[in-house]
């Protein structure tokens, strides 16, 4: 399934792009699975996604836990904890 990925803050900087469209393998059921899959790409991806504890996510523009399902998702964003306000 084709999903739009978005990266923000140092995740974006480490990956070197602000997003990409990917076809997710069927083995990826949760956001955590996706993070592990991205980390395995090496280089900037390994750096950005090596430590899931430092990451937060939104699926279709709603914040979710990393154990959330990605089934049917159109847009998945990965980023550090927010620091606005």
């Amino acid at each position: 399934m084709a999903v739009q990925l978005l990266y923000f803050a140092w995740v974006r900087e480490a990956v070197g792009r602000d997003g990409e469209s990917v076809d997710l393998p069927e083995t990826i059921a949760t956001v955590a699975d996706l993070v592990g899959w991205l980390a395995a790409r090496g280089d900037g991806y390994a750096q950005a996604f090596a430590d899931p504890a430092r990451l937060r996510a939104a699926v279709d523009q709603s914040f979710v836990q990393l154990d959330a399902s990605v089934t049917g998702a159109r847009e998945i964003a990965l980023f550090p904890p927010v620091t606005g306000g």
């Binding site: 523009q61 927010v82 606005g84």
Partner: protein, 147 residues
């Protein structure tokens, strides 16, 4: 009255306050957050998740409106390059009751800190820069409202 604005432009705290005061509620509270210049900070950049930001703020506003009786609610959050002394965020509330106005104002800024998709990167006079780390204090401040 509910007004939510996300953008690069500075805003006029005074005019926002005047609009809230004109609602007839009798109690208006506001909070303004500004860039501090301590530690040799030269500038700050605020990134956000454009497609999500406004509805994340609308959701936070709706929670405040459900919890307190408010006549008016304003959230302004800037993005882009900011310098020491620049305003970052304004939260304002109007109510018939001072506790409602003040508590809702405090709630809104605590939730904005932890539940809205903004990220700050600080640049220093020595050329260094770093992404601001989320603070456990902010999570605790937000959790206080869960009870």
């Amino acid at each position: 009255m509910r007004r939510i604005i996300v953008g690069a432009a500075d805003f006029d705290s005074a005019a926002l306050l005047a609009d809230l005061e004109a609602l007839g509620g009798g109690a208006v509270a506001s909070f303004t957050g500004l860039v501090r210049g301590e530690g040799g900070l030269s500038s700050m950049r605020l990134d956000h998740y454009p497609a999500m930001t406004e509805h994340a703020l609308a959701d936070i506003a709706a929670r405040a409106e459900a919890r307190w009786s408010l006549l008016g609610l304003v959230i302004i959050h800037r993005v882009g390059e900011l310098r020491p002394g620049d305003r970052i965020v304004f939260v304002g509330t109007a109510s018939a009751h001072r506790a409602a106005a003040l508590e809702a104002c405090h709630f809104l800024i605590d939730w904005l800190k932890t539940e809205a998709p903004f990220w700050k990167k600080e640049a220093y006079c020595d050329g260094q820069s770093r992404w601001v780390e989320a603070r456990a204090d902010d999570d605790r401040a937000k959790a206080r409202w869960d009870a």
